[in-house]
Symmetry: C2
Subunit: 430 residues, 2 copies
């Protein structure tokens, strides 16, 4: 018995999926019970080697992959949104099962895609869409079924974590970005990574599984583009490490979701997550605290998770069933507006070194009800200093307003001042 | 539709399973598609509260649980070996699916039990048997199907890790053990934990899944009973932390398996795993390095994993299929004898403080071809010193022989000297 597979996209991830299916066919046959046969595969720019994909299998037409009647499972590895959406819904409409590694299309159209899958009874695998080699999706769909989750935080973007690791060593932002691009971690247009969008898409997907809610749109997202290597050094002086933290909290009022560069204690496990690794902490009512750590991206790790979905779906197809459910309540849990998120903050103001500056700034902060736990003047150059301020627990909205007012005050700061939450992650957490 | 469940053992874990099934019946119904109904449950000494288990369900007879025709799934939570084996095989013989949290019975009779399950076509779930709340078994059975593993190491016993955490703070062994018993982590007879047996059973189970081999018997096991808080301090002086490390390496010659108190770099993630937590590192050919971390024991985390198996099996029963395979090659990969394991070692000799002691000891070590990377005399009391020795990479057999000879030399050492491998875990690893 064999099950036909259509692959849309044979680039970095797709190429590795093809390689694994070829090289490990014996092992997979044993584990799957059926042969996984690639019946059609599309490429965009670079044709995969003919010894892996012979001429009769290869095409440049996405429709040929979706429409091939032998393809019982369609694997979407195009990236991007529009073509991917067309391939996924086209396949589901034909009753085919779908596997995707594409968080962007799920974050944008997940509700429709899941509904389509439910109607057609087809399976939908997306393990590879979040946190590369970490089997968090399967764990949430299958292993943590008895858990009620109240808290999640983690590092979900390998590119920015690689850059922050370099900046931690003193490298400026622009050089860290160039190096990430050189190593192939960051795209030519790195905005999805450095603006935090990629992490926010993954957080939205995870949140829907963690909290049984439709995929939340509009996760508050703050990228790392305003960070300087100085911020990272000042944070380090205070005993903190800056990481791009995706955070989710289930409160009575709703869901508190954000992706922000965050100061976390340098002794915390997450502070030690280096380079292109991802790490996820979850807190459940029975299991307590649990952590997963692994490569967050890359062709081979991602491809391995795509193949694991393939085997799972093929097994269920062989049995004539789909034991591959996604659980959602249909009602969206409301999001707590970012203004209402509360935490201590790190603020940095680039100011001219002159008498009374701290007084002016701290007066404006006080007017907004913000009390300080410390303030430090750091010399940057002759006349310029960085005024670093740490606040006590504060409403985010008050901090954003106060900083906006300070930045707008004539002659006070140069440019916009970074506002970063400080999160102890364990101590003092609800 | 409902699926009948028999529970053998309603103690610490079983009691929590009952509680979760009752309290979360709605959630589980939604995720499972069927109702999970407890039709029979046995207890040994303490009867669970009647509002959780009414009289017609409760029994003290294991046979009643196994033989109840309504029980389609039997959950074995007795612990121990003989009764557990009887319940598991009795249920499988009747074509019932089985879920167990019992590493001891699987390590002892796993081969027979898996064969019985295969014959009967019944499902066998054992997620809760290894590493409590960490879904490593499901990840290996379902998510890492495309991986070839070469390396595993981790902390698999929460009790000893709790004790080592206390000893790291200066508490003597006996007091740490007493505290572990007080907190309910260690049994009245703690030998399964402190001798390393429990960790070795889990390592054997994991190895069979990691390396596609029948469950290996006779994993080399060294407990923590010979360790003193001084060893832990001396190790710390050298930049190491002592953890009870379960280690597996796939070499051309075979499998290198051991459970030993091991010096690992104090900067390594595993050195930071405190108290009753477990942590597992795996290295796969595609996913690279991956880590899992969570509570290793306790009623509630373990029960949560038992329920996850229940939902998985119930789902597959409802569909009339078992999509719940265990993969083994039938051929056992040979184990590399412990004598052939190679690593640097930490040795500590309790000796009288007299001229020439180091010369005598280092001469014997040299005669066995062991070269030293350092030796330190640590004053213990007036006349007694601890001679701490670190070796270069050495064959274990040579070290054990040399130390045996030193311990047997008249008037040289007092009692048997601890021999602990030093493992950098990442650097210089094959």
């Amino acid at each position: 018995l064999s099950i036909g597979i259509g692959i849309a996209g044979t680039g970095e991830v797709g190429g590795e999926v093809v390689r694994i299916l070829r090289q490990k066919s014996g092992l997979l046959m044993q584990r799957c019970g059926v042969e996984l046969e690639i019946v059609k595969a599309s490429y965009r720019s670079r044709r995969p080697p003919p010894d892996l994909l012979p001429d009769e299998v290869i095409t440049t037409s996405l429709d040929e992959v979706v429409e091939d009647p032998r393809a019982q499972i369609v694997v979407e590895l195009l990236g991007g949104i529009d073509d991917a959406y067309r391939v996924i819904t086209g396949a589901l409409q034909r009753g085919k099962s779908v596997i995707t590694a594409n968080k962007a299309v799920l974050a944008a159209h997940g509700g429709l895609i899941f509904a389509r899958a439910r109607e057609s009874g087809a399976a939908l695998g997306f393990e590879a869409a979040v946190a590369g080699a970490i089997p968090i999706i399967s764990s949430l769909r299958n292993s943590f079924v008895a858990e009620t989750f109240h808290r999640f935080y983690g590092i979900l973007n390998g590119t920015t974590n690689f850059m922050l690791s370099r900046m931690q060593e003193g490298m400026p932002y622009s050089e860290a970005l160039r190096l990430a691009q050189e190593k192939g971690y960051a795209e030519a247009d790195p905005s999805l990574d450095v603006e935090g969008t990629d992490a926010a898409q993954k957080l939205a997907l995870l949140s829907s599984l963690l909290f049984n809610t439709p995929i939340p749109p509009n996760v508050f997202t703050q990228g790392i583009t305003d960070l300087t290597e100085n911020d990272i050094r000042y944070a380090s002086d205070l005993g903190y490490t800056v990481k791009l933290i995706a955070s989710a909290r289930r409160l009575d009022e709703g869901l508190e979701l954000s992706v922000r560069p965050t100061l976390i204690p340098s002794g915390h496990e997450l502070a030690h997550i280096q380079n292109e690794y991802n790490a996820l902490f979850i807190k459940g009512d029975n299991i307590g605290q649990s952590m997963f750590y692994g490569l967050g991206a890359g062709g081979r790790p991602t491809a391995s998770m795509v193949v694991s979905d393939l085997v799972r779906v093929a097994r269920s197809l062989e049995k004539g069933t789909s034991s591959f459910p996604v659980f959602f309540n249909s009602e969206m849990i409301p999001l707590v507006p970012i203004e209402e998120h509360r935490s201590p903050f790190y603020l940095r103001f680039g100011v001219m070194d002159q008498v009374g500056i701290l007084a002016k700034i701290s007066t404006i902060l006080a007017e907004h009800g913000i009390s300080l736990s410390g303030a430090w003047a750091k010399t940057v150059s002759n006349n310029v200093i960085s005024l670093v301020v740490a606040t006590h627990q504060t409403r985010s909205g008050d901090v954003y307003q106060a900083v906006k007012k300070i930045d707008a005050s004539e002659g006070l700061t140069s440019g916009s001042s970074p506002v970063l939450p400080i999160n102890d992650l364990r101590n003092g957490e609800k």
